[in-house]
């Protein structure tokens, strides 16, 4: 085990003494949502109903073309929007009913990066992840610093702690944003297209890291992504969305059916089954 992983053990929540090795963490029951321009007008976009469950240490990927409802589903999971019907529960509690800071202690959302208004050091940024645990003016305690330091170590960004955020490369910034989410000590980690600005090496490294974090820290990780092969390689479960409907949910081999993928992504695709039991998608040649 490397140093980062050792430190990571401190960040992870300690398991309850008699907790079963796996239990349902995230439960989505017939959840649906509709966007309208106004309260009275007809909905412009409808999602659902979607149902699935995810356990501790599981990595779930949400796949689908643009405007298929991926981000809406992620917002439902994060409790940012209340489902029109159905329920989204984390550890047995409906997420949209959680008090804001309690929710931030349970769910961390890594969204696409936003522009910083004023320069900020990496450690200051990561310490923001401790906000849900503070009181009143929220002066950070020694424990907060320890947790932030551990979170940085877990993503291999220890050496970056005194750098300015604006000086980081795309991959470095992504790791620091992830570290801030880890500093929240969540049980559910949600990521919205985290691989968007990364090269292929960065994408593989990030997914590998998420897989390890889920295993070591007992997180449930949900990733919205366009990366079909990386999702097949690293996830336990995949939800495939198309035009606001959830077409398939299950293990990668169950979901990756050639006809379904071709219909959803409107491209000539071929699915190969590898010896590991995980599928691989390739673009069919025109000749």
């Amino acid at each position: 085990m490397n140093a980062g992983a050792e430190n990571g053990a401190t960040v992870a929540r300690q398991p309850a003494p008699f907790a079963p090795p796996k239990s349902v963490r995230l439960k989505v029951e017939q959840a649906s949502y509709a966007y309208s321009a106004t309260d009275r007008s007809a909905p412009k976009f409808t999602l659902g109903p979607v149902s699935f469950e995810a356990q501790q240490r599981e990595l779930v990927a949400i796949l689908g073309p643009n405007a298929s409802g991926k981000s809406t589903l992620l917002k439902l999971l994060a409790g940012m929007i209340k489902p029109l019907s159905g329920r989204v529960e984390v550890d047995g509690t409906e997420v949209s009913e959680l008090e804001l800071r309690t929710r931030a202690q349970q769910i961390a959302l890594v969204s696409q990066e936003s522009e910083l208004l004023f320069p900020l050091r990496v450690w200051e940024y990561v310490l923001q992840g401790r906000y849900p645990y503070g009181k009143r003016l929220r002066f950070e305690s020694d424990e907060d610093c320890l947790m932030a330091g551990n979170a940085l170590a877990q993503v291999g960004a220890d050496a970056l702690r005194d750098r300015w955020m604006e000086q980081l490369s795309g991959g470095e910034k992504q790791r620091v944003i992830l570290a801030r989410a880890l500093a929240q000590q969540p049980s559910l980690l949600l990521l919205d297209e985290p691989t968007q600005h990364l090269d292929i090496g960065g994408k593989v490294e990030l997914l590998r890291r998420l897989r390890r974090l889920a295993d070591e820290n007992r997180y449930t990780v949900v990733v919205v992504t366009h990366e079909l092969n990386l999702a097949a390689e690293f996830s336990d479960r995949i939800a495939l969305l198309h035009k606001g409907k959830c077409l398939r949910i299950g293990e990668p081999a169950e979901v990756y059916q050639q006809d379904v993928l071709e219909e959803v992504f409107e491209a000539p695709l071929e699915v190969e089954m590898r010896s590991s039991g995980r599928p691989r998608v390739i673009l069919r040649g025109s000749h």
């Binding site: 994060a78 940012m80 804001l100 800071r101 309690t102 929710r103 931030a104 202690q105 769910i107 961390a108 959302l109 969204s111 936003s114 522009e115 910083l116 208004l117 004023f118 320069p119 900020l120 450690w123 200051e124 940024y125 310490l127 923001q128 992840g129 906000y131 849900p132 503070g134 009143r136 003016l137 929220r138 002066f139 950070e140 907060d144 610093c145 932030a148 330091g149 702690r161 929240q184």
Partner: protein, 341 residues
């Protein structure tokens, strides 16, 4: 990793308070009628123990300079704190009550109250607050493009609002030239020469400082939330910040502070922009430190600017707003160019 502690805030504020004290002493000493340190100490001592003192020093210090300094501290602290608040609220580093037209809105409100209810104590402050709050709300909605707050559009909306409201002020002053309505220079440039409206000078300043303490204190309670809002409103929401509540508190508090300053000193420009930026460069961007340092820094700047304004061309005076604009406008251009690049 060295997080901010209350001890560090106290140390830095203590240092700035010392500088403010020196600025106050300098301001008491210099002017068209210079007073020695010894005479200042004796006069202040006599005043403090209530001993009757009919010397000229007593008249100059208690009748002229001290009220002006007390007003300068209040105005500088209010404008800087509200500038820091507007910068976070609108997520725009160039936001400032003067540039956004909020000061002009407050000035118009204050003027209208002087026309309608000239003898009601406190009415002018309330009217200035309403003027400030209405202007920032209008600028906020005019500054939106496609549902999003756009930095450049917001500033343009502010500049247009400022010139439009200034034109109404000039129009009104030309039409209604009643006594006690104060001059055009006062409303458009700002100065600290307006006498207290009542005989009870201590009570008057007590009222002004109480309003300042409540509004600045309310804003300070949101300072750690503002740190997160600066990295993005949605992200702050994910981290547990009640963004709507925080924005409402800052909106009301910053409007009260602008209204308070403008009601007693007119529209003094650029302090709300200049001071928070200098404090950020010196002490970092954490609002838990930025709000108190901006308040004290603003007080220092106004006291010094006013002292300079009444000494460099003595026996005539330059309004304090002219002094702050001389220093602030180049800084605004520098910040704008740095941002465009």
């Amino acid at each position: 990793m060295r997080p901010l502690t209350p001890k560090r805030i106290l140390a830095i504020c203590g240092l700035l308070a010392t500088i403010l004290f020196v600025a106050v002493v300098v301001s008491l000493r210099v002017g068209a009628y210079p007073i020695s340190m010894r005479d200042i100490v004796i006069t202040l001592f006599n005043g403090a123990i209530g001993r009757g003192d009919t010397s000229e020093f007593n008249q100059v210090i208690f009748g002229l300079r001290l009220p002006r300094i007390a007003l300068g501290i209040l105005v500088g602290a209010s404008l800087s704190t509200s500038g820091a608040g507007f910068q976070a609220l609108l997520r725009n580093p160039l936001a400032d009550p003067y540039v956004l037209g909020v000061s002009s809105g407050a000035a118009l409100g204050a003027m209208l109250s002087l026309i309608i209810a000239p003898h009601t104590v406190g009415a002018i402050q309330l009217a200035a607050f309403i003027g400030a709050a209405a202007t920032i709300a209008a600028v906020y909605f005019l500054g939106r493009r496609g549902g999003q707050l756009d930095s450049a559009t917001l500033l343009l909306a502010g500049i247009v609002a400022a010139s439009f409201l200034s034109a109404i002020i000039i129009f009104l002053l030309t039409l209604v030239n009643g006594p006690g309505l104060r001059s055009m220079t006062f409303w458009l440039m700002g100065d600290l020469t307006a006498p207290p409206p009542t005989q009870n000078v201590l009570g008057w300043f007590g009222f002004l400082y109480f309003v300042f303490a409540v509004a600045a204190g309310a804003m300070y309670t949101t300072s750690s939330d503002l740190n997160l809002i600066l990295t993005g409103e949605q992200e702050a929401g994910h981290l547990g910040v009640n963004v709507t509540r925080v924005k409402l508190v800052v909106y009301v508090a910053a409007s009260v502070l602008t209204g308070l300053a403008v009601s007693v000193s007119g529209a003094i420009g650029y302090v709300g922009l200049l001071v928070p930026h200098v404090m950020r460069m010196l002490f970092g961007t954490d609002y838990r430190l930025l709000i108190p340092t901006s308040a004290i820094g603003g007080a220092i700047v106004i006291v010094l600017a006013d002292t300079l304004g009444r000494t460099i061309v003595a026996p005539t005076e330059l309004p304090v707003g002219a002094m702050t604009a001389l220093a602030g406008a180049p800084v605004f251009i520098y910040l704008m160019r740095r941002r465009i690049r």
